[in-house]
């Protein structure tokens, strides 16, 4: 088993009577790019600050490697942080900012010069040693902050929304850069963000957080393809969620559930963990849906071959370049979003004009089923792993 770099055991943080982090248990393996993703106030930053030592856990235990660091001050923890506002020391130049950690550890002068130089190479700022922080752009300050943290070769690097202040283009560029640097140095990164795309781009694993708890933890693909809760389904990408009830579970190699949608249509999806009679939400991503005219031969064939099929009427079609986005109102009254890739021409929109009756098909394996009406679904773990 891989070595664990960070372990939180039943960690709770209360600010007066507000519970910011609620009984959180979490293992982060060595060398991972691990993201904590969630809306503001979900406890992700507080969790990060507890790992760094800036906040004291109200209860619970925090381990770095095998060492219990719960009561250690920040300067005695083998972690370094990249702050949201960079927090570069304004009175020191780039060299002294980056050298700050080495100086505290009494590293010799020539060695400091060498290491700072190498680190500035890594973040692609060679020759910037004598600049002051206020002479640098936001992106450059970001790189200095990264170099200043990484030069200490911490066991874990903590990043608190480090790209939040950058513009979109620079942010995209820095995402790839961060991933490259992480791969290069091999240090465990713990990354806090509210941007799902950012988390998906870089992370090996993501913990989606909500109200101080982990809603779901898994790889970007697991979270996207098999969201365990409505919240996760809605937070990562666009989801269509249809209300229904499980009518039968067919056991087999992989259990399959037969679900009756509101409106009477029956569809199938993965059945693990479901019981007959349960109220559920049937989810399918917009790009997994196939749109076809009612008497389309291929669609009929697909339905016969086991695809799910529902019917509705196009109420909106918008051309957005790479795809055309349709909104289809089902006969049951619910609206479904469909992305149809513009493979042929831009004439796709005319194939399904507004008002047309259409059929939507998709494969059962592209379906995810979420237990409905569960106010607080059990938090931990990808359901199918």
């Amino acid at each position: 088993m891989a070595q664990t770099d960070v372990r939180l055991e039943q960690v709770t943080k209360r600010f007066h009577d507000v519970v910011a982090v609620d009984d959180l248990t979490l293992d982060i393996e060595r060398g991972q790019f691990f993201s904590m993703l969630g809306p503001s106030g979900c406890g992700k930053t507080t969790t990060l600050r507890m790992i760094a030592g800036f906040e004291e856990a109200t209860s619970g235990t925090i381990y770095l490697g095998d060492a219990d660091v719960t009561n250690r001050p920040p300067f005695k923890r083998d972690v370094n942080t990249v702050f949201q506002n960079y927090a570069l020391f304004p009175h020191l130049d780039v060299f002294e900012n980056v050298a700050f950690g080495l100086r505290r550890r009494k590293v010799g002068g020539p060695e400091i010069t060498r290491q700072v130089g190498a680190m500035l190479e890594l973040v692609e700022l060679p020759g910037y040693q004598r600049r002051k922080p206020n002479e640098l752009s936001g992106g450059q300050q970001q790189r200095v902050a990264l170099a200043r943290a990484l030069i200490n070769h911490p066991r874990v690097l903590l990043l608190d929304e480090p790209l939040g202040a950058l513009d979109l283009k620079l942010r995209k560029q820095m995402q790839l850069e961060l991933k490259r640097i992480q791969t290069e140095v091999g240090i465990t990164f713990v990354y806090v963000t509210h941007d799902q795309e950012e988390a998906m781009t870089m992370s090996d694993n993501i913990a989606v957080m909500r109200a101080g708890k982990i809603e779901q933890l898994g790889t970007p693909e697991q979270l996207y393809e098999r969201p365990a809760t409505e919240f996760v389904a809605g937070f990562l990408g666009v989801s269509n969620l249809l209300t229904g009830r499980v009518v039968a579970i067919a056991a087999g190699d992989r259990a399959t559930a037969e679900i009756e949608l509101y409106g009477g249509r029956r569809v199938r999806g993965p059945g693990e963990g479901l019981t007959a009679g349960a109220e559920v939400k049937v989810g399918v991503r917009p790009e997994k849906l196939r749109l076809a005219a009612p008497r389309d031969e291929a669609t009929n064939g697909a339905a016969a071959a086991g695809s799910n099929l529902i019917e509705g009427r196009v109420i909106d079609a918008s051309y957005i370049g790479v795809s055309t986005q349709y909104v289809v109102r089902l006969n049951g009254g619910q609206d479904v979003v469909v992305y149809a890739q513009n493979l042929e021409t831009s004439g796709v929109a005319e194939q399904h004009p507004v008002g047309q009756q259409v059929r939507l098909t998709w494969q059962p394996k592209h379906t995810f089923v979420i237990a409905a009406a569960a106010p607080r679904p059990t938090s931990q773990g990808g359901s199918d792993e």
Binding site: A52, G53, F54, P73, P74, F75, V79, N80, T81, F83, Q84, N85, A87, L88, F89, P90, H91, L92, F100, G101, R104, R105, K132, P133, N134, R148, A149, N152
Partner: protein, 267 residues
């Protein structure tokens, strides 16, 4: 519109000139009379001469008064720097019971009329049997000099992101190292600017000084007395000239230090 703005511009220029004359004409007179050959304060000056400047340099009473003021200002500034900085750091960094009260209590003395401060100090010194004189002046001045350092430090603390100190701790610095390498350097120019203002305030303070000086003469008190003596009035002009020149230095430095908003410590 255009024509109106031109008239307005002339009016504005005229008003500005008027204000400047109003502010600087008296100072100009002091400078002019310092070089007046016959040593009187009457227009027009009789002729140019450096004789009063030489005389001022030889006058022991003046020298003593100058050194006394210098000493008092140094003492008061030192106390103000120490206590003002500590109070500013405490109020700026920590949340504690009574913080606002302390903030108010530190600022209040500067708003208090000098007569009241002087009277109160006089009574207090009498009560604790502290003899009037140099020590009393230093303590008296420090009560309102603290505010200047305190306000400067507090303003800097508020502008300084708390994450700087977190970053320092994160990079392995203990609390003492964080203060030495991060907090203090960031505060340094603010402390210095406050200290310069405190020094200037103490140097020319009259009212409180009169109450607590006992027999000691500071420069302002010497000027106040000498002004009425015909044989010394020429020296007063020279002292005025010297004071004007000396004042330019701290005001200039203080402006430079605090105008530099983005960074700290640039010199």
């Amino acid at each position: 519109m255009r024509v109106g703005s031109r008239i307005a511009r002339h009016l504005l220029g005229f008003a500005t000139g008027g204000v400047l004359v109003f502010l600087y004409f008296p100072l100009f007179l002091v400078v002019a009379y310092a070089f007046n050959e016959n040593g009187t304060q009457a227009w027009p000056p009789a002729g140019f001469s450096l004789r009063w400047i030489e005389e001022a340099l030889r006058n022991t009473g003046l020298q003593d008064a100058f050194l006394t003021s210098l000493g008092a200002a140094f003492g008061a500034t030192l106390i103000a720097m120490l206590l003002g900085t500590l109070a500013g750091l405490a109020v700026g960094r920590y949340k504690f019971f009574g913080r606002e009260t302390i903030s108010f209590a530190v600022i209040f003395p500067i708003a208090l009329p000098g007569v009241v401060t002087g009277m109160a100090l006089l009574i207090a010194f009498a009560t604790i049997d502290l003899p009037l004189g140099m020590m009393a002046i230093v303590i008296g001045h420090a009560t309102f000099c603290i505010v200047l350092v305190y306000n400067n430090v507090l303003a800097r603390m508020r502008r300084l992101s708390g994450s700087l100190e977190e970053a320092s701790a994160d990079l392995g610095a203990d609390s003492f190292q964080t203060f030495r390498y991060v907090t203090f350097p960031a505060m340094r120019s603010a402390i210095l600017a406050g200290a310069l203002l405190a020094f200037a305030l103490s140097f020319d303070e009259v009212i409180v000084t009169i109450f607590v000086a006992g027999g000691v003469k500071t420069l302002p008190i010497w000027i106040f007395h000498s002004f009425r003596l015909a044989n010394q009035v020429a020296l007063v002009n020279v002292v005025g000239l010297a004071a004007i020149l000396l004042s330019l230095v701290p005001v200039y430095i203080a402006t430079r230090l605090t105008a530099d908003t983005g960074t700290v410590g640039r010199t």
